[in-house]
Amino acid sequence: MKSTLLVGALLTVVTTTSAFAQAIKLADVAELSGGGATVGTNWKNGIDLAIEEINAKGGVLGRKLEVTHADSQSNPGVARAQVQKALDAEPYVLLGPGYSGSVKVTAPLADEAGIAQIMGGEAAELTQAGNKFLFRTSFGQQSSMPKVAKYIHDEMKAKTVAVVWVNNDFGRGGRDVIVKELDRLGSKVVADLSTEAGQADFAADVGKIKAANPDAVFVYLNEEESARILKELKRQGVTAPLMGETTLIGQKVIELAGDAANGARGHVGLTTDAPVDLIKAFREKFSKKYNYVPDHNGLKGYLAVYMVKASTEKMGKVDPKKFADTLHGLTIKAADEPGILMDVTFSDTGDIDRQSFLVEVVEGKQVVKQVLPKVK
């Protein structure tokens, strides 16, 4: 009797282990609380949605995907500890973080471990450090800022511009590129204002913008701060047109800022309002599952998982060491892999080339005004 029990127990252990061995393990470290909670929560939900879909269709090469989520608390120090912990468990691919500052301190860890890291950060410098394992899910600032500067100069015809940015890696990176580009095009930066992450009161900053009386204001802050400054700009009656990036006109910003978001414009690499059928379908699935409309971070998380799928299927095997090599230079077509939503090409540095959009907030809704094509 005893031996039967023992054999039974052993069998259970063996079957469970083999079931686990079959799953492809992904590790996600994201901003699930703190200032970046909007970013991290959307990212996480996007990941979960993609995994659910892929697993429902039989997984990747017949194996299911599994993910563990860890909270970086929007703090680079915590992110580093969480990424180290995640890497110790030897995941197939590391997903996240979303904040550039957190990516900057965690990328060397993934590089050292030889594990590919698919992240949400947009700071220009991230992919310029020679890291062979780092991949973007959206445009880096070096790709998007020149498009923004050109729009401010050519379409808005702004001769003077106020630039307000958040004093972290993300903000500083964007500010450096846009100031250089505006200068090159001949638009003068009349106010160059740094603000703090998590800042609640923007009265003084908006006061300075008002005093500088620019033709256009370029706002480059995180989502919550963007909403606060939009409200303050409206409160103090600043009428100059507002231009930004995804973070100025995202769904969460529109929800938080209400009327004050109307009229704001932004260059957007990814938007759930894009006139693309696959993105519309994604938006519908996401909203149905989570009861809210995702922002671009939801798309990024979703795409990250489909990047894993497409690259693995291209390799024809699950090989963490070869994963990064395969993804470099790879073009994934939406016709072949609908989960990738739009045709995309990855460069040797992990940067992406994809079509993008120029969006304006009209009556609380993102309206795509122009589609900017893929560069190559």
């Binding site: 919550e224 606060r228 103090q236 938080l256």
Partner: protein, 291 residues
């Protein structure tokens, strides 16, 4: 010049809210020697209570009333009965530490039950401008100032012009003698806790449309109100009002004319100067206390 005027108005509006919170701070200290380090979280919570009321279908005006009532029950009555009374016996310091724990508890609970993300909050004042001395001033700033000033006027009238207020002051100044002459000291102390809860709920209603409803928004407010109370004088209501307005204006001017990075440092430096050169606060009176 116009920018200085705008900065002053915006600073006064924020300062008026700090003042409301700081007044509550000093009231609790005067009547029950409670240094409430959860005061910032006390401002954060009512907004979420109002949002919760709206979530179950209450219109905004009803949500405000329910929010204020719930705040008075939770942050006034329950705070006094469940935390202050049992801890008071062990002295001022254990109580202060208990309020720090409460601050963490409230913050984490809001994060858990509502969300870690910010939520929008409707404003009681419509957006728009009116012209004052040729400057466009936002209705929101004016509204905040008016409501805060009315609240403070109401409170000072209550304290100085009514029998109830005199009893409260007596209970604060000398509880033993007050008890002998028949003042219901316990009830008076409870009343100050309820008033504090009302003031923080009001501050919450005014500040949340600007700062957004977020679990962490109490940190900045609690700190600003604490500095305001010390700068103005911890034992004087009028000191807390002056301190609040001063810190609000100082913070805005520092952000505009010093730098955004160091804006938080300027009120701190001012605080150190006050502690060094006028420890009783700008309008406070010197008092000695045996430790």
């Amino acid at each position: 010049m116009s920018s200085l005027f705008d900065l002053l108005v915006a600073g006064l509006a924020t300062g008026a809210i700090y003042a409301l919170v700081a007044v509550g701070f000093t009231l609790l200290w005067q009547t029950s020697q409670t240094i409430n380090f959860a005061q910032g979280e006390f401002v954060m919570l009512p907004a979420f209570l109002m949002l919760a009321a709206m979530h179950v279908g209450a219109p905004f005006w009803l949500a405000i009333i329910l929010g204020i009532l719930m705040s008075m029950i939770l942050l006034g009555l329950a705070f006094k009965l469940l935390l202050v009374d049992p801890m008071m016996r062990h002295g001022v310091l254990p109580l202060a530490i208990a309020t720090m724990a409460l601050a963490i508890g409230i913050k984490e609970a809001v994060k858990q039950f509502f969300s870690a993300e910010a939520s929008p909050f409707p404003s009681i004042v419509p957006t728009g401008d009116i012209s004052i001395l040729g400057h466009a001033v936002s209705l929101q700033s004016i509204g905040v100032l008016v409501v805060a000033i009315l609240a403070v006027l109401g409170l000072t009238t209550l304290l100085n012009r009514t029998s109830l207020g005199h009893q409260m002051q007596a209970a604060a100044q000398n509880p033993t003698v007050a008890r002998i002459i028949g003042v219901p000291v316990e009830r008076m102390i409870l009343l100050t806790f309820l008033i504090n809860a009302f003031l923080v709920a009001l501050a919450s209603l005014l500040i949340t449309p600007i700062y957004l409803a977020k679990f962490s928004s109490g940190e900045v407010l609690g700190q600003a109100a604490f500095i305001a109370a010390i700068v103005g004088g911890f034992n004087q209501v009028r000191g807390a009002i002056a301190g609040g307005l001063l810190i609000g204006v100082l913070d805005n001017l520092a952000a505009a004319y010093v730098s955004t990075q160091y804006r938080a440092a300027v009120p701190m430096i001012f605080l150190i100067a006050v502690i060094l050169f006028r420890p009783q606060g700008l309008l406070g009176r010197a008092e000695e206390r045996t430790v």
